[in-house]
Symmetry: C2
Subunit: 493 residues, 2 copies
């Protein structure tokens, strides 16, 4: 019997009970909030709809930022920073933009100890197209200045009536890309290139399969010509829009006179794009992979990839184990693994197992004196909860293998789940039966009126028209009118 | 004669003239603003006192962030994120805090399409002690939860009446560290530890010598028990406060009931610190090293360490050079050097030399067909503007040497400049004569009244009481009253 098997009862039972989560089956929504709270990812605050992102949650965001920032730079983008406040008058320049955002913004009316004159009030940026275009107008003169490829990491604010940690918060952190091009074709190419970047990030790093496609007219970004999205399925079978990329055409350029002189000497409006992902992705990550024991994070983004638990009742037992554990941690760290040694004597192994499952440590190494006498340790994997006994020397190699395997397995599992919950739906009866059942591929007559009926009568909304779904004509499920092809509907976050 | 020497007249003279800066001697203030504008570091915006940080400027901030973030993590700190908005009532909890900050804040009175009730208004954070303490109160229960070591990268806002790019802007980017400890001694230790981190960053990375010391009572952070700073000397001999570290005592803990249960079972208030540096450091960097030709950035923080200029008039000449240049750039990149190849045929070398001097590329490699025939390139150094001819194969090694040398030389030069402009001042006559002349080490009677007279009558303010200046008694320069030791006075930004 290994030390790990012998000792899990060490922890006071009460502590373990306190850590128990509601199951996903019982109450998915409560489970989600509890995972966030118990894993110390985020708290609510006294500021309406604004959250505090705690170190465990922020560390996931830092890993996401590092990867995405590298991808943006590899595709030629540079970071810059624009003002938090936007003159109220800017927002008003684009009709659809102001109509959608004005009711959501926070307005600064007093500053520096005085009321601001009516025409000089500011809103806190809900997004930055307008203020960035003001700069683009100064920066662009000639076709030689194009393309301009900018990204901004920033906080933005949209007053939120039904806030939900990470998914819908009044303030959130995000990146927003903003680009200018000399032609429509180049702008479209950029829009789709960045959608591809998002897809690659979601699938290769978040291990979250996504559907790439085009949003309908009514779901477009206010001010865009076309909006594209990646859509993911959560474990409750609801859809979550995980990232959007917009072809803005010349809409903002015209409002801000963003023009360039072409090779032929003609003044032309630039063609633009914008694209963004936010801390919402942390919510998506949680709802895609985590289980009833707590957080599960794909290794590539996990703040904690390996935790080494020191087991032993007496200082004599713990001393040699401690030494070995720190040597192993140093080896793992050198090999690029994010690792922690837990040497807290005030808590038993059983308590710790539950704690690190909650927190989403990918692998756990249990190390006790009996194991070490046999030159062995126990290695436990977070997602499958499988255990194996391995030789001490093979720890680094085996951890690397298992982390890679876990990354793949999480993706495959999520893909299988999505496949099992994606349905072609052809009749109202089927729609009624399947409305809560994942992604519904349906014919729709393309009118906003019918789209609204789908939403109001069945609670399902259009997600996107997938690029890789062959478009074949058919009949709208609700009206029987002609449809050019199926589109993904789902209940959504 | 090398290609580089032969061709600098290539560029139209007019273009070069356009790039000319005012000299530091002529008008330091105008020179500073022009360097920022011509090097495309930042722009003013339509938002009062808020700047746009352009890619060239933001890249410096990213390098600063990367280094500082590593230093914070090495000293045990974790990043987190707290709300941008602070309930107005929080600010009011600490008397001195609200007195100093209330006149500077921007206030949100409307949100989500409605006026907020009087008691529910928010201010945009001018600093986050209050809202972070609110979280600490939830997080701290027992001595086992201490210390809490948090850092936040964020934007903050202080309404600015006399804005100046990077140095004083309404919105600025910064990091703010916030920690809780079980004892006063630990909090003091942390305060000084982080001051040391700032000193190390300023000297080893920014190549900017700083004086570490304690601020006077009247210059303390509102709400702190003690404030410490690092103070640097700019090339116009004015002082710039480059970073501060505060021992907050139990002031904020008492306002927010941030308490822990000690080992002995007693409820105690935590002891706290906070510390910050901001985008102001970019202003300090510019004013410490740059010259009349433009930006000079120490290699460790320079976005562009080496630029390779392709020289050649015809496609036949440029072709082979281009190939060699990209191979060299790949070698440099592999060796960890930030490098760019300039292959723009529409501009001549002379124009480019001026351009990259403006932008602060540390080293320039000129590569033309004649040089290559001899297997040589010309290497020019930004700070000394010295040139040398080297063999192609030795480029990587020589670039490394010169970058290291430049980093050291910039620091030594700045240190010599500070030494030459630091004076012991003992009489009012000397003070009158030296008031514009750098750091003045003077005896002062320690009263706020006399401190005010120094400021109002001579324009000099107390910077700090340096740790490494032996404190010997003397007589106040203004009042003749006893003084316990000299303190640094200077005109300051």
């Amino acid at each position: 019997m290994s030390d790990a098997q012998k000792q899990p009862q060490n922890a006071p039972k009460k502590q373990n009970d306190n850590l128990k989560l509601p199951t996903r089956e019982q109450d998915f929504s409560k489970w989600y909030i509890e995972v966030i709270s118990r894993a110390k990812l985020a708290d609510n605050s006294d500021v309406r709809g604004s959250m505090v992102i705690r170190p465990n949650g922020y560390a996931i965001w830092e890993n996401m930022q590092r990867v995405l920032d590298g991808m943006f730079k590899d595709t030629g983008h540079q970071n810059a920073y624009f003002p938090l406040l936007i003159p109220e008058s800017y927002l008003a320049k684009e009709a659809k933009h102001v109509a959608d955002f004005a009711p959501q913004v926070a307005v600064v009316t007093h500053a520096g100890g005085k009321a601001l004159p009516e025409g000089e009030r500011y809103v806190i940026r809900p997004t930055s197209e307008t203020i960035i275009n003001r700069s683009f107008t100064n920066w662009v003169q000639s076709y030689r200045d194009l393309p301009i490829l900018i990204n901004q990491w920033a906080n933005v604010m949209r007053w939120e009536m039904r806030p939900r940690l990470f998914l819908r918060t009044t303030e959130f952190l995000w990146q927003e890309g903003h680009t200018c091009h000399a032609s429509e074709a180049e702008a479209t190419e950029e829009t789709l290139r960045m959608l591809d970047v998002y897809e690659r990030f979601a699938e290769d790093y978040m291990a979250m399969p996504v559907i790439k496609g085009q949003k309908t007219e009514s779901e477009k970004f206010p001010g865009a010509v076309n909006t594209y999205s990646i859509e993911a399925m959560m474990q409750d079978k609801k859809a979550l829009q995980a990232g959007t990329s917009h072809m803005l055409g010349q809409n903002f350029a015209k409002m801000f006179d963003t023009m360039y002189q072409s090779k032929e000497g003609k003044k032309e409006y630039v063609w633009q794009t914008s694209w963004g992902v936010s801390t919402r992705l942390i919510g998506a990550l949680i709802m895609t992979h985590s289980d009833d024991a707590g957080l599960v994070v794909p290794p590539k983004l996990a703040p904690l990839q390996v935790v080494i638990i020191i087991i032993g009742k007496t200082p004599e037992e713990r001393g040699p184990v401690r030494e070995k554990a720190h040597a192993m941690a140093a080896d793992l760290k050198k090999a690029g693994v994010r690792v922690l040694v837990d040497d807290d004597e005030t808590k038993g192994p059983g308590f710790k197992y539950a704690e690190y499952e909650l927190r989403g440590a990918c692998l756990r190494v249990d190390m006790g004196p009996k194991d070490l006498a046999k030159n062995e340790v126990t290695l436990a994997r977070r997602d499958t909860r499988s255990k194996e006994t391995i030789q001490v020397e093979s720890t680094v190699a085996r951890c690397h293998e298992l982390l890679e395997q876990m990354q793949k397995d999480l993706f495959e599992k999520a893909k299988a789940f999505r496949a099992a919950n994606t349905h072609e739906v052809n009749t109202v009866e089927e729609l009624k039966a399947k409305a809560d059942d994942g992604f519904l591929l349906m014919h729709w007559d393309g009118t906003p009126e019918t789209e609204k009926r789908f939403k109001e009568e069945f609670g399902v909304t259009t997600r996107n028209r997938p690029f890789d779904l062959k478009q074949e004509p058919g009949k709208c499920v609700l009206t029987g009118n002609p449809s050019t092809g199926r589109i993904v509907f789902a209940k959504a976050y």
